[in-house]
Subunit: 394 residues, 2 copies
């Protein structure tokens, strides 16, 4: 018999997917260039040219080594390069023994949850949050609980967090720079988070792990860098994807890095190799392990995202929106102009503006715009945005 | 706290891995060319040149499309090509709705088990079998049970199968052409298997699914082709990998194909997209989806495996080994010359012959040779084999 829980999931259609499908259908009517599709977080810039050259190098040089089996924890030289790069950037003594290569951040998270939670255990995350965290966690048998947002700053809501951080919580999941708010967690936030986790681990007599989902780490604006959560808490499992920084989300390449100061860090990486056997992971593609290891100091040209952020933030605030200024990513998360953001986003469709209501991210009343689109299109969308606001809300 | 079951798995070291490590260490002493390493099933021939050209084409043409996100069931055009190819080859009416792209056969199997089994359900497989089936199944919560081998033919042991096929069995897992025996299941075997499954599904009042693991489908000797299990039983889930036929095991690319005649076939493929969210699968690499879709009618030059099979089968039978002649793959599975194959393989190490005892495959008393190595080396190994047998067993 077919397993019911997966059947049931099919009826719950993703709001983002529905909006994206609407955008595609509308594009067929009026030309996709005329649909201001802010629904999907899909990188809009090409991979760096060096990445293409490196790929060609590997597929034309010793093809058996390039396409051969990777050891179950990842290609050794690749793990070494990743460790070296992390150590240099974040000042923690990473070695290859702390690195496990994964199929994107989703692959890394799938291992992280299984490392430190048993069915019935709780995982806390902070709204607004990436909605896929629900199936990611819930389908392991653990339970995801969501701390309500601090809507002033979209940093963490410390008071509510303390309330919800009970003995049943085995892991806390964060995402900075954040999808959907675009906010970068400050050093102060990470310090408080670390302090609370240390205090509560002590109190409960068991480790609480911090699972840090960092696919947007390289997309930070105003010349800043994102503070590294691992620096503030030893028991941190970093989950990284090259998807956004190198613009290759389809190639499913990333890694899990256990903080070298985490007790049992090496054991945990070895355990990941066992977890893989149960979930059919068996390493990301060898080619992309080899290629990305040569690209650790490069990114695609990410400047378009900052340009778009600047244009949209200015226009939105000029139009009277309440909006926390994104410090990175390619998302912005303003307050809707009426209480029900679903109604607000529904109305926006009339102006061919595809906005995603914040309900889906655990923050009703807000909406997300994914501005990983051409700047020229962002500029053309402003007229529609103005017309929408002035017609519907003046 | 770290999850105990994965910790415990670390102490159970794989015999194949240990032998392979021994071979590497010994190679450092005497030169790897002098170690007759028959331990690992790693393709030994290069990818087809066309595959390299196709890869270069895709990475230099519209890189955003090439490296972009794949839809959750796989790239639509790729699924169409796979369906067309399967229909043409096997005469079943596959459409893209029956195809789900996966990270190799392991990825396909991970979805198949979760589609049709709940924790506590039983999955039957037939010895000799690929030892990874144990963690693949057991870590889902289902229970793998192994039907003892028919050592005369290494087809299936029908009598024992009937005994073990109780109401608790929700799926039967086969692997033809078979690792480790090299045997191709005959039409007669598949017909009997189908008949029994139909009879018992009826009797128990629930469907029993056939999960068919077919990574060696293209490696068949003597101008034969492997009978397609899906043709003999409607409720079949085919799990395929391009690893062996195209020599790219590291790239983790394959698919799951539900028999179009299976009730709910399309629903099952859609369910796979949901299962993915829980196990961090999120599609195989886009690039390799696109590339393999252009290579459906090609393979690497697989003739070396048949050459090696011929040499080894002749030598082994000349030396008095009892041995079922492999019809495909790159494995042969003779009977050891003493009861305990572990002792036999241990003694072989003195002659720098790396053989794997059959215990690991559920067939004690036998041993596996993986002859995916250069023919020149196979030929050089014969002297060692003769010396081993004559010294230890005459």
């Amino acid at each position: 018999m077919l397993v019911q829980k997966y059947k049931d999931m099919l009826s719950a259609k993703s709001v983002i997917r529905q909006l994206s499908e609407f955008a595609t259908a509308r594009g067929q009517e009026i030309g996709y260039e005329n649909v201001f599709d802010y629904s999907l977080g899909n990188p809009s810039v090409p991979v760096p040219q060096d990445l293409t050259f490196t790929t060609i190098y590997y597929v034309t040089t010793d093809t058996q080594a390039t396409h051969g089996y990777s050891p179950s924890l990842g290609i050794t030289s690749v793990r070494e390069e990743v460790a070296k790069s992390l150590s240099a950037r974040f000042g923690l003594p990473y070695r290859k023994e702390h690195i496990f290569m994964t199929a994107g951040a989703a692959g890394a998270l799938a291992h992280a949850f299984r490392l430190v939670t048993e069915p019935g255990d709780e995982v806390l995350t902070f709204a607004p949050f990436f909605p896929e965290y629900h199936p990611y966690v819930d389908l392991t048998g653990a339970v995801l609980k969501v701390v309500p947002p601090d809507t002033e700053t979209f940093q963490i809501n410390v008071e509510k967090f303390r309330e919800m951080l009970t003995e049943r919580v085995m892991a806390v999941l964060i995402n900075t720079p954040n999808n959907p708010s675009g906010v970068v967690y400050s050093e102060e936030t990470l310090q408080r988070l670390g302090d609370i986790l240390r205090e509560k681990s002590e109190e409960f007599g068991h480790d609480i792990y911090l699972i840090s989902d960092e696919p947007y780490r390289e997309i930070v604006f105003d010349g800043e860098t994102a503070p590294c959560p691992s620096r503030f808490y030893d028991n941190t499992i970093m989950c990284y994807s090259f998807s956004k920084a190198l613009s290759l989300p389809g190639e499913r390449i990333g890694y899990l890095a256990v903080n070298p100061n985490c007790r049992d860090a090496e054991l945990m990486v070895n355990m990941c190799g066992q977890i893989s056997r149960g979930i059919g992971h068996n390493c990301p593609a060898s080619l992309f392990q080899l290629v990305t290891a040569q690209m650790l100091n490069q990114t695609a040209d990410l400047s378009v995202y900052e340009t778009n952020r600047n244009i949209l933030y200015k226009e939105l605030t000029d139009l009277g929106f309440t909006c926390v200024k994104p410090g990175g990513t390619f998302y912005i998360f303003p307050k809707a102009l009426e209480e029900d953001a679903k109604v607000f986003c529904e109305k926006a469709l009339k102006y061919d503006l595809i906005l995603v209501p914040g309900d889906t991210f655990g923050a009703p009343g807000y909406f997300r715009m994914a501005y990983c689109i051409d700047t020229e299109k962002v500029e053309r969308s402003l007229e529609a945005l103005r017309k929408f606001v002035k017609t519907e809300y003046r």
